[in-house]
């Protein structure tokens, strides 16, 4: 489900079924040399989470992307997110990111790090097949988590 008022109404009435939160983490690099890559990574991650949501609409709540500047303290941000989410009823929380700095943050579980693929300049149908390929890598991680901890 998306983080909009209509889906949240449904979420509120179906909490037992929607037990997984998905949090996209996006680094903003606004320097002249880094902006294009940063935008591409953001585009990639958002497309991926949208098709992921479509696949698992009834079980996941896709939060809006958490965006932060390069200098942001990942450990602190991670801690804050974790705390906020711990006050909800979600049984499973996945963080999706293309930012390698999250790999050294140890106290977040289920951080799925994916290398960003610059899909922005691809033509539609090629992009679609690339994204589906990516999705196929991610789906089993969810189903595995669900079967092991439910």
């Amino acid at each position: 489900m998306h983080f909009n008022s209509k889906d949240i109404d449904l979420y509120a009435s179906q909490k037992d079924y929607v037990d997984t939160a998905v949090v996209p983490l996006i680094e903003l690099d606004l320097t002249a040399s880094g902006m294009k890559a940063s935008a591409g990574a953001s585009e990639y991650l958002q497309s991926l989470t949208v098709i992921l949501e479509k696949q698992f609409k009834g079980r996941i709540l896709l939060l809006p992307p958490i965006s932060y500047v390069r200098a942001a303290d990942r450990t602190e941000l991670g801690g804050q997110l974790k705390k906020e989410l711990s006050e909800t009823g979600f049984k499973h929380i996945f963080y999706l990111t293309t930012d390698p700095k999250w790999r050294s943050v140890d106290d977040l579980d289920n951080v799925l790090w994916l290398p960003a693929i610059p899909t922005g300049d691809m033509d539609q149908s090629f992009k679609k097949s690339v994204m589906e390929d990516q999705l196929r890598q991610v789906l089993p991680l969810f189903t595995k988590e669900w079967t092991h901890h439910s």
């Binding site: 449904l10 179906q14 079924y17 929607v18 479509k54 696949q55 698992f56 609409k57 009834g58 079980r59 539609q124 679609k128 789906l139 189903t143």
Partner: protein, 167 residues
Amino acid sequence: MSNNRVSRRQFLGYTLTGVGGFMAAGMLMPMVRFAVDPVLQQKGAGDYVLTDQAVADITEEPVRVDFTFEQVDAWYTSEVTNSAWVYKEGDKLVALSPVCKHLGCTVNWGGDPEQPTQFFCPCHAGRYEKNGQNIAGTPPLGPLDEYDVQEQDGFVAIGQVKPNTLV
């Protein structure tokens, strides 16, 4: 001629009514258009989206067929790709919506290895028969929706979604 002369008062009266009328129309027309436009723009029921799936390759085994169309949202137009599970029932094409009737996940044909001839929803293990009938005891409360489907020049074309007519 002189009998029909328009007096100054009448002339002003006509002019003002005319101008006022134009102004009122100028204000009302956009409002009417706003109200009516979305209705006029709705796709007719006869709209089919052509896919690149050849009908000859369709068997009794459901396959996923994607179709892309432009969706006009309130603010912007976007390309949306949906899919359908398409198979042949005798000579007839059948296209089912992959959207689970429980909470909307995407179902897969044979997604549960133990039930290779059913649709399976990975979210809460909902299951459906090949014709879309939901299996009692699993979360979904109704059958999968169906799409209008037809053959166009040998390819599958997908139409509007409708309640299941097969179960």
